[in-house]
């Protein structure tokens, strides 16, 4: 018992460090694409920065400001009803977990869906929301539900909601800038005004073009990697809150057995759910939002 939290804390520390590294890569990627565009059109880097950065920041700001309402309405969630015993027990569990985490109690929402799932959203711990599906409330027992809520509470505690919405913004900004660059490139190529370019420049331009095409793919992959990291982190942190990794492990086993057939909500917010509501990743894949459930269960049981 004495060394158990220690081990979980090590998990938490490692996951946090990984996220920082991945986020830094994301920022470097954003800067490089702005530079590449500047290079392509022969504009001085300072000027490109002055145009590109505000566009990127504005995009991120917009994504951030509208994230909560859009997540809730996309999920068609409603506030939990304390008159209903199952939903009352859900509210109780959220209150308990927020005490364990030392955070203000989030608002509790319910999504009508037969699937077992849950997600957390909100800008900061003071105005966060935890939402569980009716399937989760009905099919999970107290211990399992506690594990799931602990996981969601950790997403709030680790500011994952912030990290994820901002990375969604960066990914969007990179895609937007790449799109603009490709179009401008196409029109200038059609215009055919490149008479004074020499051989050395052409190689740089080709590299820049390839980079601009690849950047959106890289950023998407980085975003997915962050998402998977945050899931492991929330699993470890949630287990630390409940002091019971087995609860979440059992819940994940039930989620695994329960094939998603009633998904609601938008695919953009899929990383915010405890398990991808649209499909289950059974193998390690660079394209999935969540780590394979078996691996998550294995890690929880090794804590």
């Amino acid at each position: 018992m004495a060394q158990q939290p220690r081990l979980v804390e090590d998990h938490i520390r490692k996951n946090k460090r990984d996220t920082v590294i991945i986020c830094m890569m994301m920022v470097i990627l954003l800067f490089s694409i702005i530079f590449a565009i500047g290079l392509l059109f022969g504009a001085p880097p300072i000027l490109t920065m002055m145009i590109g950065l505000p566009i990127a920041l504005f995009y991120i700001f917009i994504t951030y400001s509208f994230s909560v309402q859009s997540v809730i309405s996309a999920a068609r969630a409603r506030p939990a009803n304390p008159q209903n015993r199952d939903e009352k027990l859900l509210i109780y569990k959220v209150e308990e977990m927020s005490l364990a985490a030392g955070l203000p109690t989030p608002k509790v929402y319910v999504q009508e869906s037969k699937d077992i799932n849950a997600f957390a959203t909100g800008h900061k711990p003071e105005d966060s929301i935890i939402c569980a599906t009716t399937g989760a409330i009905q099919q999970l027992n107290t211990e399992e539900l506690e594990g799931v809520i602990g996981h969601e509470m950790s997403h709030i505690q680790n500011r994952d909601i912030l990290v994820m919405t901002v990375t969604v913004g960066v990914v969007g900004a990179i895609a937007l800038l790449a799109e603009i660059a490709v179009r401008m490139l196409f029109f200038s190529a059609v215009g055919g005004g490149g008479g004074k370019k020499n051989q050395g420049n052409i190689i740089i331009i080709i590299i820049a073009v390839i980079f601009i095409i690849l950047a959106p793919i890289f950023s998407r992959l980085t975003y997915l990697a962050i998402s998977r990291r945050r899931e492991y982190l929330a699993d470890a942190n949630g287990a630390y809150l409940t002091r019971n990794p087995e609860g979440l492990a059992k819940a994940l086993e039930k989620i695994k057995a329960d094939v998603p057939n009633d998904p609601k909500g938008s695919k953009t917010v899929a990383p915010l759910y405890i398990a991808n509501p649209f499909k289950r990743a059974l193998r390690e894949s660079i394209w999935s939002t969540h780590p394979p459930i078996d691996e998550r269960i294995r890690r929880l049981r090794s804590m």
Binding site: L89, E95, E96, L99, A100, T142
Partner: protein, 188 residues
């Protein structure tokens, strides 16, 4: 004055500034950790009071059904009285564990009374008491987490250096009895 003197003066100012900044940061960290401990203690207190407040209601509901269980009911009432009169944290902690045990017995005995088990009021109180019980357990856990964080801050370098001068000593964690961590299992 020559250049070298200026450089040395600047360096000294810089070093003093860095030391002050470090001190500032550590001082705030220690105070924040301390406040967190106090706050989480207050939370435990709130939950214990809340639970004690629920007891008279429960007794009122149970009274009509469980006339043969005088002893069980009395031990619950006594434990509640002990909470209300507790002076020190340790006393209130002990009284609270007493109440946990007494309630566990009461809910177990209630299994033998089908009429009571069908009473909506009783069910609600049972849910709420179990919930408050869990809240107490988690508040205690958070209290211990806060104490751990505080102790780590003031016992490791460079915190220990300042904590000693600030007259701060490591705090004690709450001893949580194994039995009270178990949620009273009541099945329907």
């Amino acid at each position: 004055m020559d250049l070298l003197t200026w450089v040395i003066i600047l360096l000294i100012i810089l070093i003093i500034a860095i030391i002050l900044l470090v001190f500032w940061g550590i001082y705030n960290r220690i105070i924040r950790a301390e406040n967190q401990i106090d706050n989480s203690w207050a939370q435990i207190d709130v939950q214990m009071k809340r639970r004690a407040d629920l007891i008279p209601n429960l007794m009122e509901t149970v009274k009509g059904y469980m006339n043969h269980e005088r002893g069980t009911m009395e031990s619950v009432t006594n434990a509640r009285a002990a909470i209300m009169s507790a002076k020190t944290p340790q006393q209130s902690n002990d009284a609270n564990n007493m109440l946990t045990g007494a309630l566990k017995t009461l809910f177990a005995v209630a299994e033998n009374y089908p009429d009571l088990k069908a009473n909506q009021n009783f069910l609600q109180l049972q849910d709420e008491l179990t919930h408050t019980e869990d809240k107490i357990a988690y508040s205690r856990q958070h209290y211990n987490d806060s104490v751990l964080r505080y102790n780590n801050t003031i016992e490791t370098f460079p915190g220990n250096f300042f904590a000693h001068r600030m007259g701060r000593k490591a705090r004690e964690m709450l001893q949580i009895p194994e039995a009270s961590k178990e949620v009273p299992k009541v099945s329907f």
